[in-house]
């Protein structure tokens, strides 16, 4: 409602401008603003490098990158794909809408050109699987770094 009131107030001053500019402006209000305060920590197996760029993370979670620099295969873990943790991870860390990422995985699986990530049910299971799987990467809500896994800094 606050957005509608804001639009009405500005419309009376901006009626000189072409309507398409106003339409674009209203649409832009719908754009989600990515927050710099991330809700999740990225965790990796102890053998994986500690720094990753955002683009590399997107490449990993889009299942494009198959192996790390040392040749170990990448194994990707996610939480419930319709849950809140996963949604925040997609929007805040990867800058991608969850439904887009879901479609990327489905196209890979059903065209035979890749596989989907492994879904785990709880954060405890996430930590246990990342700890025990060489080349693994996952995410958990912000917490102290659990023993046996590394926390990744996103550049």
């Amino acid at each position: 409602m606050q957005y509608i009131g804001f639009y009405k107030m500005h419309f009376s001053y901006c009626s000189r401008f072409p309507k398409w500019i106003l339409i674009l402006w209203v649409l832009s209000l719908c754009l989600s603003v990515s927050s710099k305060a991330y809700s999740n920590d990225i965790i990796v197996h102890s053998g994986v490098e500690k720094k990753l760029s955002r683009n590399t993370l997107r490449s990993i979670y889009s299942m494009r990158l198959q192996s790390w620099d040392d040749g170990v295969g990448v194994t990707v873990f996610i939480l419930d794909p319709v849950g809140e943790s996963h949604r925040k991870f997609c929007l805040e860390t990867l800058s991608i809408f969850p439904y887009q990422l879901q479609r990327v995985w489905d196209v890979l699986v059903f065209s035979g050109t890749g596989q989907a990530p492994v879904v785990v049910e709880t954060e405890q299971e996430m930590i246990a699987r990342v700890k025990s799987t060489p080349g693994a990467i996952g995410y958990v809500t912000k917490m102290e770094v659990p023993a046996g896994v590394k926390k990744i800094n996103v550049e």
């Binding site: 809408f97 887009q100 196209v107 699986v109 059903f110 989907a116």
Partner: protein, 420 residues
């Protein structure tokens, strides 16, 4: 387990061919209790699959079955696929598909894809790889997974570009793919280039190109497909350009040979421009295509229909209420000849040769409204209504009596899908 039994009980009420019975029994043995995402105990081996059953009811014209009147359950898709990661650079995947689609597809299982994929270069910012075998044709946004309801936005894809009546020809080829990607500061570029042999063994290609099933047969020749895609770094904008160039020979039967005085070649060319804009709740998609079919020496293709440039486009929007519900609206247009959009020129030319053709067989305009409900990660249902003016993409196989074909027709589709 309960869901599997429910699925099988519902499907048993349908009229099933023996092929479906074999597939359903095999699925029962092979279905894993976990979802498609859960790793099996052999972590480099994954299996998954899907089942879709649709009910179609049409007013006036049949589509994918005898859909006029009480409606038809003649549209079914069942697939099971396996994926094996041999090493971080080498993987193998295959899918077995059974598809019933009225008289255009009888449900006989076939290998939908079977490919080896080798990654030559695998870096976070760029990569290059090869695929070989029976591989899905990469053009447009939706062609590679057009048979899987979970990767379509609705039940029936825009028919102006993704024709159901020539599915086998469009969907995959026995080919070599070279693919690559490059991350830049503005976004991700990826490209796929294909050299291969299209699949032309079914009679649907004859219906589409020749108007009827004939005694001779089409023979595939090496053909090309290329697609370049761009995705912005914030994932909001996706664009693509696709080029398809198919070459076919027509090998006439002995009885037909006297009618042929040329090479019997077909050269099919298509360019598609695709654009998508994504927001949290909204998506807007549009694709525009031009096609040209040029034939040489094929008696069944009238000269007035030869070497014409067809035109197609659609615009579509989706609104997501949440991860379970969304609604979709689309306007889809096909012209067989962009210089003759109402088909009247073609009709008059053929009438002068005493051949009766309806002008509305040369275009089709489709307004579609739909709703989708995802009951869970594994189940999905859809309902959509089409209002169509024109019959350019109507399968002739389902409408043998041309005198019954009407210009304006409506279609109601309902589907239930399950994935595992």
């Amino acid at each position: 387990m309960l869901l599997k039994w429910r699925c099988l009980l519902v499907l048993k009420k349908l009229t099933l061919s023996k092929w479906h019975c074999i597939i359903y029994l095999s699925l029962q043995l092979l279905l894993l209790p976990d979802s498609v995402y859960a790793a099996s105990k052999f972590s480099n081996v994954h299996m998954s699959g899907f089942i879709m059953q649709s009910y179609i009811k049409t007013e006036n014209n049949n589509f994918l079955g005898s859909s006029v009147g009480k409606g038809s359950l003649g549209y079914t898709e069942i697939g099971i696929n396996g994926f094996v990661k041999v090493s971080p650079r080498l993987q193998f995947a295959s899918q077995l598909l059974s598809r019933r689609a009225g008289k255009t597809d009888d449900g006989k299982p076939r290998v939908d894809f079977a490919l080896l994929d080798y990654r030559l270069i695998d870096k976070s910012n760029y990569g290059l790889g090869l695929r070989m075998g029976r591989v899905k044709n990469p053009f447009g946004f939706y062609n590679e997974t057009r048979d899987v309801s979970f990767t379509r936005e609705n039940i029936i894809l825009p028919q102006s570009i993704y024709f159901e009546r020539t599915r086998d020809l469009s969907v995959s080829s026995d080919a070599m793919h070279v693919y690559g990607h490059k991350q830049t500061t503005i976004g991700l570029f990826n490209g796929t280039f294909v050299v291969g042999m299209p699949r032309v063994t079914d009679e649907n290609t004859e219906y589409a190109l020749l108007g009827d099933s004939k005694s001779g047969e089409f023979v595939a020749k090496p053909s090309l497909i290329g697609r370049v895609r761009f995705e912005s770094n914030d994932s909001r904008i996706t664009g693509a350009f696709s080029h398809v160039r198919l070459f076919l020979d027509y090998d006439p039967a002995e009885s037909e040979a006297p009618s042929f005085n040329g090479n019997g070649e077909v050269d099919f060319k298509m360019n598609i421009f695709s654009l998508k804009y994504n927001l949290m709740r909204w998506s807007f998609v549009g694709e525009y295509a031009q096609r040209k079919v040029k034939s040489d020496g094929i008696a069944y293709i009238p000269s007035d229909a030869n070497n014409k440039t067809g035109e197609s486009f659609y615009v579509q929007s989706i609104f997501r209420f949440n991860h379970k519900w969304n609604v979709i609206a689309r306007y889809d247009v096909l012209y067989a000849d962009k210089e003759d959009r109402d088909g009247m020129k073609f009709t008059k030319l053929l009438l002068a040769k005493q051949v009766a053709v309806k002008n509305y067989s040369r275009y089709a305009k489709d307004i579609m409204l739909g709703v989708q409900f995802k009951m869970s990660r594994y189940w999905m249902s859809r309902l959509e209504l089409h209002s169509v003016d024109g019959t350019a993409w109507l399968p002739k196989q389902d409408n043998a009596d041309e005198s019954m074909i009407e210009r304006k027709w409506k279609m109601l589709n309902y589907s239930m899908s399950y994935r595992f």
